[in-house]
Amino acid sequence: MLPNVQPMTPLTLTASTLVTATGRGLGPVLQALRERRSGLKPCDFEDVTLKTYIGRIEGLEDFSLGNELERFDCRNNRLAWLGLQQDGFMVAVAEAKQRYGAHRVAVVMGTSTSGILETEHAYQARDLAGSLPAWYTSRYRYTHNMFSLGHFVRACLGLRGPAMVVSTACSSSAKVFATADRLLRAGLCDAAIVGGVDSLCLTTLYGFSALQLLSASPCRPCDEDRDGLSLGEAAGFALLEPSTYVSRRGAVALLGYGESTDGYHMSHPHPEGAGAIRAIRDALDRAGLQPSDIDYVNLHGTATRVNDAVEDKAVSSIFGRTTPCSSTKGWTGHTLGAAGITEALISVLCLKHGFLPGTLNCERIDPTLRSWILRANDVRPVRRILSNIFGFGGNNCSLILGTLQ
């Protein structure tokens, strides 16, 4: 039985910012999309010897967080800090704080691995008795604990509203939109900062390698010969306000979302895409839209054999072959817990600039796929986009973003 989902009031994305391997800030990310310039490079992360490509953000090794933020210093929070500095985001949040009061602005962040790299380093630095170094133990709370990112963003922005970190593997920073909508509708805040940050670490590189899901070349979503994903890292944030407060014709808003689980397997998607279908249908119902109202689908499109095939089953069962679809993982890599916000904000760029990114690195479209897979970039007006994110634990989330009419 499908859940009874009621249409929602759109939430305006009043401000947003994004850092991926393709660029720091929305402008550079847009330029890379238009120029079809990938951020993926042969893996040069720390001492990792895996033969794979990664979307590493340059410069994270070259600075540290100082002063009152020093205790938060780790790769994940440095990346969060870098994200917060772009696109005038801090100014927009300061204005919202002025408007509503610091305790009326919520912070809902998503990450899958938080600052685990610190713990990996600390385990490598254990003493002869097996104890962890003091520089680590006193800072675990601010670096690796799953809430660290939420704590850090709240501290950076000087906010005092409700806060939490959602961690549902790859769907984490898509689900933050849903949690923020609930907090707003329940009247527990007037605005919300949503977002996600995930950074490279040994656990995910060696873990995905162990699952034999890493490609030795830059990932090729939807390609006949695709052979796995490329890992990336990213930070993205958005300021959400109910469109009843701030509504401007042409402003980009969250129109709907759908959340579901597969109830099938920890790391294999449901073979018929049942959970994915449920998430997409709920997103359409919340937005009060029909499939034909959607102009473009930003696929999860990780470039693993199974993901792309199962996602195609789900998407084509709803959209047939009439809605253009593509994956942008060829630019950014799979940014895991940051994939939701990354692809939501890429969708915002598509809406604002009237273009669709063709699937990068897809040379020959897998002939068994039934959806309309875009290979080349396309310039056209775009009003509504569906973005899919599916994660381990069979955790799915679909978002619908659109321009307010």
Partner: protein
């Protein structure tokens, strides 16, 4: 916001199951912590149970107890899983592996390392395909989970299963996070109805001069302070005693969740 509580699951040393623990929680029997046997988590298929983590078995065990009491079909109930550190035992093993010259990671352990592992296994065990959120808010993870679950119930007008758990953190990670005892609790929260065990109003207040609600029994209070999931104890104690009480849970440094319990 008002919700009903229609089922409770509980597991900790000296608190083995909600029904068995009511007298202790109500203060009419003494609290005597004894080692907890490995939870049954009977819902898990035996092959999954064998390779599942302690977190998964504890979380599923209390979830099953709560959902059975509620009489609801688990396939119809969205879930919220709240834990400060999640799969700390699995993370300890993975970080040990990363410190070895050959980083040979077990693929099974890797997919069990995510914060939503218990959520995923609950879905596998029940074939539930509803929304499931896994979250953290450090020491206030139970309060944050309650916030997510109650807003879900009120906004969507549907029952939600909340499961909060943190297990003892293994050495050497325990030097950074000294959680010494395991604790898991599950609540089935529903739109207000007559069939509930209790109902409560939730409101969010700015940080208050009143301290978060504690417990009278010093040994139970120690459990509450040691384990983030055990921050649920004042609520459980009031329900067990059938007390009308306002319970304050801290939510970060700036806010408190106030639960006005109406048994």
């Amino acid at each position: 916001m008002k919700v009903g509580i229609q089922g409770i699951g509980l597991l900790a040393a000296g608190l083995e199951g909600w029904c068995a623990s009511r007298a202790v929680l109500a203060g009419t029997e003494p609290f005597g912590p004894v080692a907890v046997p490995d939870p049954e988590a009977a819902l898990l298929p035996s092959n999954e149970r064998r390779r599942s983590s302690d977190c998964v078995r504890w979380a599923l065990h209390v979830a099953q107890e709560a959902i059975a009491q509620s009489g609801l079909d688990p396939r119809e109930v969205p879930t919220v899983f709240a834990s400060s550190g999640g799969e700390t035992g699995v993370l300890d093993t993975l970080c040990r592996t990363q410190a070895m010259p050959e980083r040979v990671v077990s693929p099974t352990l890797f997919h069990q390392s995510v914060h939503n592992t218990a959520s995923g296994y609950w879905g596998i065990a029940t074939t539930c395909q509803q929304s499931s959120t896994a979250l953290s808010c450090y020491d206030d993870s139970f309060a944050a989970g309650l916030l997510e679950a109650i807003t879900f119930v009120c906004v969507e007008q549907r029952p939600v299963l909340l499961v909060a758990y943190d297990l003892a953190v293994p050495a050497p990670l325990s030097e950074a996070r000294p959680i010494a005892i395991g604790f898991a609790v599950a609540l089935v929260l529903v739109p207000p109805s007559d069939s509930s065990l209790a109902s409560m109003y939730l409101r969010l207040e700015e940080a208050h001069q009143d301290e978060p609600t504690g417990l009278v029994d010093p040994a139970l209070e120690q459990v509450r302070q040691n384990n983030p999931a055990a921050r649920s104890l004042p609520l459980l104690s009031a329900i067990a005693a059938g007390r009308s009480q306002s319970i304050r849970l801290s939510l970060l440094d700036s806010q408190q969740l106030v639960l006005d319990l109406d048994p």
